[in-house]
């Protein structure tokens, strides 16, 4: 059974992977900058949905420090591990948030940090596996006080 949400996420992941966003005009048509950032990471390889768990609160009071963690299902052995995890956003001034590089010595493919989110938007985590495949997870977040663009703070 596929919910509407799952379908949209899968569709956006597929569109991101092959860079055909203009062809699929669904509600989550992600801006070009994010697609460009994804292409830079994957080099045009397909991005599949799954194996990645992006944990970020769905409703955010203050976008200046949003706890974000990513966990990827992987045995993390020398033959099968996660090489990198990239986090990108749709409506921040710059799409990239951070990229982390791991290896078999990580033991577990996971990390946690705190990020800024400028607007209500979709946050995407892409994991690059040692076999060259890409998997992703995305979360739609609602931000009430945005980071970066607030005027009159200083």
């Amino acid at each position: 059974m596929t919910s509407r949400r799952d379908f949209l996420i899968a569709a956006s992941g597929a569109a991101g992977g092959i860079g055909l966003a203009p062809a699929s005009r669904h509600a989550q048509a992600t801006p070009a900058a994010m697609q460009e950032a994804i292409r830079k990471v994957t080099g045009g390889a397909p991005v599949r949905n799954g194996r990645v768990k992006l944990d970020v609160p769905p409703l955010i009071d203050n976008g200046n420090a949003v706890p974000l963690s990513v966990a990827v299902e992987s045995p993390m052995t020398p033959s099968d591990f996660v090489k990198a995890i990239h986090v990108v956003t749709e409506r921040n001034p710059l799409p990239n948030v951070l990229s982390v590089y791991l290896g078999p010595r990580s033991g577990r493919a996971r990390f946690a940090t705190r990020v800024r989110l400028a607007d209500t938007q979709t946050v995407l985590a892409i994991a690059q596996f040692s076999d060259g495949s890409f998997w992703s997870d995305s979360v739609h977040v609602v931000v009430t006080l945005s980071a970066c663009l607030e005027e009159g703070l200083i």
Partner: protein, 106 residues
């Protein structure tokens, strides 16, 4: 001088997966904000974080302006041998801070 705090368990069993937490004091100025006179405040962020375990790199992160002020990074590693886990943050305006922690593996 920026203050850095790292948290590594002092004594662990060999092969155990440990959680490493790091926090560093830094404004992470995005370069998108303006003063009241309309001048852009220049970007001043940490660009890169590297963690080494007895000299071998185990974790690296590239940060962009969207990382919060006073960046926190928590990750895991396998405790392979006793020694030193070293952390280096480098960034704009010649920012560079190094911190290290001792670990004993039994």
């Amino acid at each position: 001088m920026a203050r850095a705090v790292v948290n590594v368990p002092a004594k662990v069993k060999r092969g155990e997966i440990i959680e490493v937490k790091t926090l560093i004091q830094h404004v992470m100025e995005t370069g998108f904000r303006r003063t009241q006179l309309g001048e852009v405040i220049p970007r001043d962020i940490i660009r890169q974080f590297v963690c080494t375990y007895n000299g071998a790199e185990i974790f690296r992160a590239e940060l962009h302006p969207a990382v919060s002020a006073n960046p926190l990074l928590a990750f895991s590693t396998v405790a392979t041998e006793s020694g030193t886990i070293a952390f280096t943050w480098t960034g704009d305006k010649g920012f560079s801070v190094t911190e290290s922690a001792k670990i004993t593996v039994v």
